[in-house]
C-alpha cells in the first residue's frame, strides 16, 4: 500500500512539473505573438496565438489529471490542499496568456513606435518571471531550500513589469498624440492583459511560499 502511494505521489509530482512546463511555454508563445505584433506581422501573430490556445488547453488537461489523482488520497491532506490551490493558480497564468493572445487577435491594436521597446521589455521580463515560477515549482520537489529565493525573484520581476506598464500607460495617455480615445483604451487594455500574467505568477509564488512555510518545523 505504502509503495503504491509512494509511486502515485511520484507520478503526481511529475505531472505538476509537466503542468508548470506547459504554462511557462504558453507564456513564451504569447510573447512570440506579441513580438510579431510589435513587428507589424499581424497574420503571423494570429498563427502564434493559436499555439497559445493549444498549449493552454494541454495545461488544462494536465491540471485535471493532477486533481483526479490527488483526490485519490496522495500526500498529507494539508499539503494536498495547498498543491490543489497552487496548481490552480499556476494554471491561471496560462489563462491570462491566452486572454492576451485573444485580445491581440481580435483587436489587433496598432502599437506606436514610442512604446514598442517598453512593451517588448514587458514581454521579456514576463518570460523571465515564468522561468522563475517553473524553478520554484521544481524546487518544491527537488530542493525546497531554494524555493524562497525563486519566489523573491518572481516578486522582483512582477514589480519590474508593473513599473514598465506604468511607464507605457503614462506615455499613451500623457505624451503621445493619439487621435482616437478608443485606441488609447485598446493599448491600455493590452498592457493590463500583459501585466496580469506576472500578477498571477506573483499569486502563485505566494501560494508556493505558504507551502514552504508549512514544511517548516
Amino acid at each position: 500500500m505504502a509503495f503504491f502511494i509512494h509511486k502515485k505521489e511520484k507520478h503526481i509530482v511529475q505531472k505538476i512539473k509537466e503542468h508548470a512546463d506547459a504554462v511557462v511555454e504558453t507564456v513564451y508563445l504569447v510573447n512570440d505573438a506579441l513580438n510579431l505584433l510589435l513587428e507589424g506581422k499581424k497574420q503571423e501573430s494570429k498563427e502564434a496565438t493559436k499555439k497559445v490556445h493549444k498549449r493552454e488547453h494541454e495545461a488544462d488537461i494536465i491540471q485535471r489529471e493532477i486533481d483526479t489523482e490527488m483526490f485519490g488520497g496522495a500526500f498529507m491532506p494539508s499539503l494536498r490542499e495547498g498543491l490543489f490551490i497552487t496548481v490552480d493558480t499556476v494554471d491561471k497564468v496560462a489563462n491570462r496568456a491566452e486572454k492576451l493572445g485573444d485580445f491581440m487577435t481580435l483587436i489587433e491594436p496598432d502599437i506606436p513606435q514610442e512604446i514598442r521597446e517598453d512593451v517588448r521589455q514587458m514581454g521579456e521580463v514576463t518570460c523571465r518571471c515564468a522561468e522563475k515560477l517553473r524553478d520554484a515549482i521544481y524546487n518544491l520537489f527537488d530542493n525546497k531550500k531554494d524555493v524562497q529565493e525563486d519566489t523573491v525573484e518572481i516578486e522582483r520581476y512582477e514589480a519590474l513589469v508593473d513599473k514598465l506598464a506604468w511607464r507605457v500607460l503614462e506615455t499613451v495617455f500623457k505624451k503621445l498624440d493619439i487621435e482616437k480615445f478608443s485606441h488609447r483604451m485598446a493599448l491600455r487594455e493590452m498592457v493590463i492583459h500583459l501585466s496580469s500574467i506576472s500578477n498571477k505568477m506573483e499569486d502563485a509564488a505566494d501560494r508556493i511560499d505558504i507551502i514552504g512555510l508549512r514544511l517548516k518545523s
Binding site: 505521489e9 511520484k10 500526500f75 491532506p77 498543491l83 527537488d142 525546497k144 518545523s217
Partner: protein, 310 residues
C-alpha cells in the same frame, strides 16, 4: 463477577477520553482515518496492557489492602468521579481518580502505604514536566535535522504520514501499558483476577471505550494540537508517548492528558519562552487536586453507605 463491571465501566470511560491524546492529531489532520485510528488504538492498548501493564497494577494494588467489595466501590467511585467532573468541565484524570478512591478505602480500612503514595504523587507532578523536557529536547534535536535534511515536499509528506501512524500506535501501546492499572489494578490486589486476566479485561474495556465513544473527543483534542505545525504536533505526541511509557516502566499510572499539555508546552518553549500557557498549567494543578479529592469524597460516601447497609 458483577463487581468487575465498575472496572470495565472505568476502562470504557478511559478509552473514550484518552484515545484522543494518541491519534487525535492524526485523525484531525486527515492523515489517519477515524476507523483505522480506533482499530489500531484498541489493538495496541490491549497489547500494551498485556505486555507491560502489570507493574502499574502492583503499584495501585499496593497502596492499601482491598477486598472484592472495596475494590468494586473504589472503582465505581473513580468512574463516577470521571463522569461528574467531565459534566462539570473540570479537568479529570483516571489515574488520579482511582488513587483518590483507594485512599478513602485505606483511610476507612487498614491505612495507606505512604511510601507508595509518595511515589505516585511525585510521578503525577513530574510526568508533565518530564513530557515538557522530552518534547523540548526532541524538537530541538529533530527540528533542525528535519529542516536541513528533508529537501522536498514529497519526502516531507511521506515522513509525516509514517510519523503520525507510528506515534499513534506507540502511544496506544504506552496508554495500555500505563493506564490499564487504573481499571483493574484493584481487582488484582483483591485477588479477584490474575495479572493476565486483569490486563486482558482492562485492555479490552479501554479498547471498547475507544471503539464506541472516542470520536468527538478525538476531533476536539486533535484540532487543538493542530494549531501548531504538523511536525511540532507530531513531536508533542511522541514526547507524551515516551513519557507515559517511561512511567509504565516505573510502574505508576499517570495522566496522558497532563502529559500532552506538558509536551505541547515543551515544544512551544523552543520557539519562545512566552509559550507557557499559565492558565492551562493552572488547570493541570486544579486537576491534581480536584480529581483525587472528588474521588476520595465519593468513595468515602459509598463506603459509609455500604457499611450502613451491610
Amino acid at each position: 463477577m458483577f463487581r468487575l463491571f465498575s472496572g470495565v465501566y472505568l476502562g470504557w470511560g478511559l478509552g473514550a477520553n484518552d484515545a484522543a491524546n494518541v491519534f487525535g492529531t492524526g485523525v484531525a489532520t486527515g492523515v489517519v482515518k477515524y476507523r483505522t485510528a480506533v482499530l489500531l488504538t484498541s489493538i495496541f492498548v490491549i497489547i500494551g496492557a498485556l505486555v507491560q501493564g502489570s507493574r502499574g497494577m502492583h503499584t495501585i494494588g499496593a497502596l492499601t489492602d482491598v477486598d472484592i467489595n472495596t475494590a468494586f466501590i473504589a472503582s465505581l467511585a473513580a468512574a463516577l468521579t470521571i463522569n461528574v467532573l467531565t459534566v462539570l468541565a473540570i479537568p479529570v484524570s483516571t489515574s488520579q481518580a482511582i488513587v483518590g478512591a483507594i485512599l478513602a478505602v485505606g483511610l476507612l480500612g487498614r491505612g495507606v502505604h505512604l511510601a507508595i503514595l509518595l511515589k505516585v504523587l511525585l510521578s503525577w507532578i513530574s510526568s508533565p514536566i518530564a513530557a515538557a523536557l522530552i518534547s523540548y529536547l526532541l524538537y530541538r534535536g529533530l527540528g533542525s535535522l528535519f529542516e536541513t535534511r528533508v529537501s522536498n515536499v514529497r519526502i516531507w509528506s511521506l515522513i509525516m504520514k509514517i510519523g503520525f501512524y507510528t506515534v499513534g500506535v506507540y502511544g496506544a501501546y504506552a496508554l495500555g501499558a500505563n493506564n490499564v492499572a487504573n481499571t483493574t489494578g484493584v481487582f488484582l490486589s483483591a485477588g479477584m483476577l490474575t495479572p493476565f486476566t486483569a490486563a486482558l479485561v482492562g485492555g479490552v474495556s479501554i479498547g471498547i471505550g475507544v471503539f464506541t465513544y472516542s470520536k468527538r473527543v478525538m476531533y476536539t483534542v486533535g484540532m487543538g494540537i493542530t494549531q501548531m505545525s504538523e511536525f511540532a504536533g507530531l513531536i508533542a505526541i511522541l514526547g507524551q508517548d515516551i513519557t507515559v511509557h517511561i512511567f509504565s516502566w516505573i510502574g505508576v499510572p499517570v495522566s496522558t492528558s497532563q502529559a500532552i499539555v506538558g509536551a505541547v508546552t515543551g515544544v512551544g518553549l523552543v520557539k519562545s519562552s512566552s509559550a507557557v500557557n499559565y492558565s492551562v498549567l493552572g488547570r493541570i494543578a486544579l486537576g491534581w487536586l480536584s480529581t483525587p479529592i472528588a474521588a476520595f469524597v465519593i468513595a468515602f460516601a459509598l463506603l459509609k453507605l455500604y457499611g450502613l447497609l451491610f
